[in-house]
């Protein structure tokens, strides 16, 4: 069975990609992901803001205790410097690239223009096969317009695009008035891949302890539908590769995404739940299914059920949508 896949110019052995997760925090974890069989690995995200905050904290800790007691004018050797550069990340990236035989993609979340470009360049220098821009941006300010938010995505992409030569993917959220148009603008702006969709981690509230809980919820198969719909819609309309993320639990989810038109399918939750070795099980399932259906390669599967580029999108979309809603509400809203 031919599972080989092209993802933004990278030749992958299969279309399953490990998306950013704690599994890539260590070299050992990255090796286990590769050994598990994935086609590529996107490393955990480097958060510029966190780096800056940690550097500032380090300075505070070093300086506040210094120069106040005659016997101990400081408490740390001079080498204690967190300079805001992601040495840790880059070092791991470099070792990961050397250690595994699948492409390693770096993931970046910046806050300043320099933060985006400098870090992207450093990632490229450390051997990243590509860079995924994790534009995790929640406009907390209600005054910010939708257009401004969109423009920010385009600006970030163009900034990074101009700084590096490796492929650049943009991972974006679904919360745009017209996600399709944003996708096309990013495609035009030079994105080599679009990763749909980022899931925003929304904190929960503990009503007994009266506090906000920073919770992380793994995705479930239901989360896949939104991304699948948009991939189906964008298939054939972008130069950029399309990556699906969220809601992969069993091989069938993989198959569905491919049928909708995804070039690659990413998963975090399933690998976190079942371990990196689960990738092989997903791929086995896919292979068996493909064999059962008589497919020879994933290219044959890809996009079979996407919206044809020349179709009346609104009609196609509405048809599926209305049918689904009716089925879901059967009984309760009969009259509707």
């Amino acid at each position: 069975m031919d599972l080989s896949t092209n993802y933004m110019g990278l030749a992958l052995r299969n279309p399953l990609v490990a998306s950013p997760s704690p599994l890539s925090y260590t070299l050992d974890g990255i090796k286990r992901l590769a050994d598990g069989g994935v086609g590529a690995i996107v490393m955990f995200s480097l958060f510029e803001e966190q780096l800056r905050a940690e550097a500032a904290r380090t300075i505070r800790l070093v300086e506040e205790t210094a120069e106040s007691f005659p016997e101990a004018l400081d408490y740390f050797p001079d080498v204690v410097e967190e300079d805001g550069s992601p040495r840790n990340y880059l070092d791991l990236l470099e070792r990961a690239v050397a250690a595994v035989d699948v492409p390693v993609i770096a993931s970046l979340n910046g806050v300043t223009p320099e933060g985006w470009t400098d870090n992207a360049r450093a990632m490229q220098d450390a051997g990243a096969a590509a860079i995924e821009l994790n534009i995790y941006y929640l406009p907390g300010d209600p005054e910010v317009s939708g257009r401004e938010v969109e423009q920010r995505h385009v600006d970030v992409l163009e900034h990074v695009r101009s700084a590096v030569s490796v492929p650049v993917a943009v991972k974006l959220g679904p919360y745009f008035s017209s996600p399709g148009e944003v996708a096309l603008r990013l495609d035009e702006g030079g994105a080599d891949a679009l990763v749909l969709f980022n899931r925003f981690l929304q904190p929960d509230i503990d009503h007994e302890q009266l506090r906000v809980l920073p919770s992380v919820n793994l995705s479930s198969p239901a989360d896949a539908r939104l991304a699948r719909t948009w991939i189906a819609l964008l298939r054939g309309r972008t130069r950029a590769s399309l990556a699906a993320t969220s809601g992969v639990e069993v091989y069938a989810d993989l198959a569905r995404y491919l049928l909708a038109g995804a070039d690659v399918v990413m998963t975090t939750s399933a690998l976190l739940r079942h371990g990196p070795g689960y990738a092989a099980e997903l791929l086995d399932g896919l292979t068996v299914w493909m064999a059962r259906k008589g497919f020879q390669s994933v290219d044959e599967v890809r996009g079979m059920l996407s919206v044809p580029a020349d179709a009346d999108e609104a009609a196609y979309e509405r048809a599926g949508y209305v049918t689904a809603m009716r089925a879901a509400n059967a009984g309760a809203y009969d009259a509707w």
Partner: protein, 1189 residues
């Protein structure tokens, strides 16, 4: 090349280039030399020959000297850096190194020796104690000289084979920043002959050309062999002068062994060594200009003593000589330099080389960094001019006991007009010193001015005050003494303006920059009457800025340094304003650039905001304030506190006369309570309604500011309106009330109490039963509340449950308000000892943090209870604490035995029943101890009716009939390193001693150097690349003796286990060892997180909680108890919260990952060993071999 460095760096910069091996041990004020050498080596900086010098931290200075000796005998070029007690520990090796004619250099930042008290400050007591070892002694008087003479020492030792000790004044030179000319590598190379290096190497031990060195000699040859070295010593003066000349030729800086300056036909001359020579020289120039025939001879080479050069240096016209020694040799005929000079002149006179034998007098000056000023030098010359000068004298103090001190004019100002002088008053935490160091670099490097900076710190580790003394001028600044008349005064903390020193140091017409949160038009009114008076009297120009606000707005928190530095440049005029601002910004980028854009941006923003917020204040022409300066100590404080302690607190300790001070270093206990420091704007505030009275907050409070009492409701009569009281939670006392009182003026705002509080308000997230709140609104009412609280009776100790954390809060702490760091992780243990056993406690305290916050003047925290009983505390040394404590135990045992014997002898006179009761009484429970105290009191009364030698004898040891609790306390530097051998021996003694190791896993007091307790993978000084050896398991070592009670505790993780262990250890009639995890500022996190980090340390298995109780073994059970549960957190997870670990991950990620992996393995392996031990049968452990007492 010009550079602005201090004496330590100036010296290390040469030593590192001239050495292959540096064997070191940290000791103030020399530590920075070793730290720099280590830092340079860890960054790969090489010596002259392209080798990176090995820098090896040893377990003590004795160890460093041994390793030094070995390295030298191995043929390497080796050095060490030390001071004070450290140098004393090197003496045995120094004799060996010299006796074997070994080229070596020891660099010493000369410091006082511990006598009646320890002092970290500078004088020549230490170097004078090694003048007989055979080392040559070479003394530098300034930062430039320290740099140059370091090289002369390295050159001359190779040439002469005589080892050299190069020294300079501790702090005054070691820590003074100066603009100097640095020696280039070529300069160093030019003086160090490769041929001599090879010769030195060839003298090293090698099996290829074997010999034996270090034999034992007998009466037949030892004497003659000792005399063989004379020609080598005879060549030293010439060789040193030769090296000095070679240096002078290359650099233009010329030095003499004994350098005379002054009138060519001087009549009166001062002879002096060290930084005092600079003061003497400038004063002599001043006096000479006034027409006086005076001179000064500066001695640079002290051993071998250059008698000929000295005699030749003094003009023949000299009739009177005063020799100044910076040391004291009690009982001698005179101090060493004095005797040497006297002998040299006498010989010269006898040999006909000098026509007249001058009168020579000797005096002491400058002990423990006591100021030595031009006024004092002039005072000495005045004494020399008297008809009958004092043959022995002191200068700089008021000796009203022996009447040796000379009068002098303290106001004599000889500094050149063009020197700008500035002083800055700040707190350690506000960054004042850092900013001033930066200013000096800007002016010294960028503006081509000569700059000098000297910084005075107080002895507190929290809320410590700093005074920065800065000078700038077009020529080199030669003024190694504090600035007394400053044209610019920066008062960086508003509260400090009340210290009289601030305006006392202002010159007439000076500029005062005041950090003040008041609006500009309110600033004047905010000042007290005495302050306003001084401002008017000195015609001071007043500027103000709300630096705290600007810093906060710029995102710099409490760091007001950038703001105030900007203001200094804006108004002082030392640099043109725009140029100054540009220089500050450039410096910010240089300093913080490597630490991220964020910090640079914030500081630049602060600079820009500062200029707009700086205001000149209109000073009215008369005083408007009626507010007086606050009283320093309460009027009802003991007389000693009011007269002596208060003077020290006010910064007037220099004026205390000799008679004011105790003769033997004995001071009253419990004086911190008189020093209300108010160092935090935020203090603990109790919520009486939410509180469940668990005692956790009080247990963890490092400063004993949280006190609890219960009392009858009738006691509330007359309580202040704001006095809070709640029904006592607990059975048995239904009407009783409970109050938790916060001593707000002593609170450091560390927040540990809030973290320890288990209660959260139902309706207000984040609110606990104890919270941090503003001090100012509650200050006045809390003072009244505290006064009321203190008149409530202490709770009856026999009714308190000693076994619970909750119970301990009702036991008065007899360790309070220490100057330890805010949130200290050690002091809660000491407080607990004082609560449980304080009235019968004797403490032997190793030198280190705990001896500093426990015993540093002016005020000390160990105090007494209402009966006047309390801990008896003493500090001997760093290295000998276990032995010292054992001695205390042995004395107590002898005297207990004596008391019991005498009591038996007096059985008939005293009464059989009382005697039998006393001798047989158990003394473990508090009620038993109380009963025994009552019996002993009855015995004392009975003895009053008797007389005779046996009665007298018994009376003198009566207190030993109360069971004494001897505790040996110290840090890991002592227990794991320097005192390890002694501790091991004492634990093996079988004696009833208790050892508390407050383990911060690093040398805390001297600034974070690695100890053998430092964890694998942690970054510390001398382990900059991460420690690569696991921690020694002190607990298992002690357990191996079978009769030692051992516990490993962490009060932040399990206070109940801590309490249990401390009580079991004390009750055990044999040696006990408690290893207590102590969070520390050297770990690198906000101290408020100390408890959660302790918890994580235990949860990750980094610090398993254990107890090993020989009593349990004796009862046939397994004595090894594992008190914490199996690790449930990865070590990496625990470590990510601490900078000491994170730093390595940031700098060397691969190495950090490797080390944390290894450390994880170590943790798991140790856990398996412990688990195995905890599940063995009792028979698998050796039974206690000691006979029961």
């Amino acid at each position: 090349m010009r550079a602005t460095v201090d004496g330590n760096e100036a010296t290390a910069a040469v030593a590192h280039r001239c050495s292959e091996v540096c064997c070191i041990f940290p000791i103030t004020p020399s530590s920075p030399m070793a730290e720099l050498a280590d830092e340079w080596s860890s960054k790969g900086r090489t010596n002259l020959w392209g080798t990176v010098p090995a820098v090896v931290e040893m377990q003590s200075e004795a160890g460093a000297a041994g390793a030094l000796h070995g390295a030298l005998q191995g043929g390497a070029l080796a050095t060490t850096f030390t001071a004070s007690q450290g140098l004393l520990l090197m003496i045995p090796n120094m004799y060996k190194i010299a006796g074997e004619l070994t080229s070596a250099v020891i660099h010493v930042a000369a410091r006082s020796l511990a006598a009646q008290a320890l002092s970290i400050f500078g004088d020549h007591s230490d170097v004078m104690a090694v003048r007989q070892t055979g080392f040559a002694l070479l003394c530098a008087a300034s930062v430039q000289e320290a740099h140059d003479l370091a090289l002369v020492a390295h050159a001359a030792t190779l040439q002469t084979r005589v080892p050299f000790l190069h020294f300079f004044d501790g702090f005054r030179t070691s820590h003074e920043l100066q603009t100097i000319e640095m020696l280039e590598d070529e300069d160093v190379r030019a003086l160090i002959s490769d041929e001599l290096v090879l010769a030195h190497r060839a003298r090293g031990l090698s099996p290829e050309r074997p010999f034996i060195r270090g034999t034992a000699q007998n009466p037949d040859i030892y004497f003659q062999a000792r005399e063989t070295v004379n020609p080598f010593y005879a060549r030293v003066p010439e060789a040193v002068q030769g090296a000095m000349d070679a240096l002078g030729e290359r650099t233009g800086r010329h030095y003499q062994l004994v350098e005379y300056s002054g009138h060519p036909e001087a009549e009166r001359v001062v002879v002096v060594m060290g930084s005092g020579a600079e003061t003497a020289r400038t004063t002599v120039a001043f006096l000479q200009a006034r027409g006086e025939r005076v001179g000064v001879a500066q001695v640079r080479l002290y051993r071998p003593f250059p008698a000929r050069e000295l005699a030749a240096a003094l003009p023949q016209s000299v009739r009177r000589v005063a020799v100044l020694d910076r040391t004291k040799e009690p009982g001698s005929h005179g101090e060493p330099l004095f005797l040497d000079v006297l002998a040299a002149l006498n010989e010269a006179h006898g040999a006909g080389e000098r026509e007249a034998m001058p009168m020579v007098i000797g005096g002491r000056y400058g002990l423990s960094s006591k100021e030595f000023t031009p006024g004092m030098v002039a005072g000495v010359f005045e004494e020399l001019a008297r008809e009958r000068p004092k043959p022995r004298f002191t200068v700089g103090i008021n000796d009203d006991v022996s009447h040796l001190s000379l009068p002098y004019d303290a106001s004599l100002d000889i500094e050149p007009e063009e020197t700008v002088r500035a002083v800055f008053f700040g707190l350690g935490s506000d960054g004042t010193v850092g900013a001033n160091k930066n200013t000096i670099k800007i002016l010294g490097d960028a503006a081509n001015l000569h700059a000098q900076g000297y910084f005075v710190y107080d002895s507190k580790k929290s809320g410590s005050q700093t005074v920065s003394h800065l000078r700038f001028g077009p020529t080199s600044v030669c003024a190694p003494y504090l600035v007394s008349t400053a044209s610019f005064v920066g008062c960086h903390q508003f509260a400090l303006i009340e210290r009289s020193e601030v305006l006392d140091r202002a010159a007439q017409g000076a500029t005062l920059l005041l950090n003040c949160s008041e609006e500009p038009d309110q600033v004047w009114d905010a000042l007290s009457r005495p302050v306003q008076e001084k401002i008017l009297a000195k015609d001071i120009k007043l500027y103000a800025i709300d630096a705290g606000r600007i810093a906060r707005e710029a995102g710099l928190g409490r760091r007001t340094n950038t703001v105030l530095q900007t203001c200094f440049f804006a108004i002082s005029g030392v640099l043109e304003r725009d140029r100054a601002i540009e220089a500050i910004k450039a410096s910010i980028k240089k300093t913080y650039g490597k630490r991220g854009a964020e910090v640079v941006e914030r500081n630049i923003e602060a600079v820009d905001r500062s200029l707009a917020a700086l205001h000149q204040i209109d000073v009215p022409d008369q005083v408007s304030s009626r507010r007086e300066a606050p009283e320093l100590v309460p009027a009802d404080a003991p007389e000693f506190v009011r007269t002596v302690t208060a003077a020290m607190m006010a910064g007037h300790g220099d004026q205390l006369p000799v008679s004011a001070l105790p003769v033997d270093g004995t001071y009253p206990s419990g004086t911190t309570k008189y020093e209300k420091r108010r160092i935090s704007d935020f203090v603990a505030v109790w919520d009486s309604e939410l509180c469940i009275q668990c005692g956790n907050c009080s247990f963890v409070c490092p400063h004993s500011v949280i006190r609890s009492r219960y009392y009858g409701p009738d006691r509330l009569e007359g309580a202040p309106d704001d006095f809070r009281s709640a029904p006592l939670e607990g059975a048995g006392l239904p009407d009783a009330r409970f109050t938790l009182q916060v001593y707000v003026e002593d609170c450091t705002g560390c927040g540990l109490c809030v973290e320890a509080c288990p209660v959260t308000a139902a309706n207000e997230p984040g609110r606990k039963a104890i919270n941090l709140g503003d001090l100012q609104p509650v200050l006045a009412s809390e003072r009244e509340n505290i006064a009321f609280f203190e008149q409530l009776p202490s709770n009856d100790r026999t009714r308190v449950d000693f076994g619970t954390v909750r119970g301990t809060q009702f036991l008065d702490p007899l360790f309070e308000f220490s100057g330890a760091c805010a949130g200290c992780g050690e002091t809660p243990y000491l407080k607990l000892l004082s609560q449980l056993f304080g009235d019968r406690l004797t403490v032997a305290n190793a030198t280190g943090c705990s001896s500093i916050y426990g015993g540093n003047q002016p005020t000390t925290p160990w105090t007494v209870n209402a009966d006047g009983h309390g801990p008896a505390w003493s500090n001997s040394l760093f290295e000998d604490n276990a032995e010292f404590g054992l001695g205390l135990r042995l004395a107590a045992d002898r005297h207990t035995e004596l008391a019991r014997r005498r009591l038996q002898e007096l059985r008939d006179d005293v009464g059989a029943e009382l005697v039998d009761d006393i001798l047989s009484a158990p003394q473990v429970r508090e009620s038993e101890l109380r009963a025994q105290r009552e019996r002993v009191a009855a015995l004392a009364s009975r003895l009053d009716e008797l007389d005779g030698p046996a009665v007298e004898d018994l009376r003198s040891v009566l207190d030993h009939l109360i069971r004494r609790s001897v505790w040996i306390v110290g840090g890991d530097g002592w227990a794991y390193d320097i005192g390890s051998g002694g501790l091991d021996h004492v634990l093996a003694s079988g004696k009833n001693i208790n050892v508390l190791v407050m383990d911060t896993e690093v040398y805390s007091n001297t600034g974070g150097q690695m100890s053998k307790a430092t964890p694998l993978g942690a970054v510390a000084k001398f382990a900059a690349a991460g420690k690569t050896v696991p921690t020694k398991d002190l607990a298992l070592q002690a357990i191996a003796y079978a009769d030692v009670y051992v516990a490993r505790v962490a009060f932040g993780a399990d206070p109940q286990q801590t309490l249990r262990a401390v009580r079991e250890a004390e009750a055990y009639e044999g040696p006990s060892l408690i290893i207590a995890y102590s969070h520390c500022v050297a770990h690198g996190y906000d101290m408020r997180e100390g408890l959660s980090q302790q918890y994580a340390a235990v949860a990750s298995g980094h610090w398993p909680l254990i107890r090993y109780d020989p009593v349990v073994r004796a009862a046939g059970e397994n004595p090894f108890l594992l008190d914490s549960s199996r690790p449930r957190m990865s070590l990496a997870n625990y470590r990510k919260g601490e900078l000491r670990f994170r730093a390595l991950a940031a700098a060397e990620p691969t190495e950090a990952e490797r080390l944390v992996g290894l450390a994880q393995q170590v943790v798991e392996q140790r856990w398996r060993v412990y688990e195995d031990m905890a599940t063995r049968g009792a028979g698998e452990f050796p039974s206690n071999p000691r006979r029961p007492s």
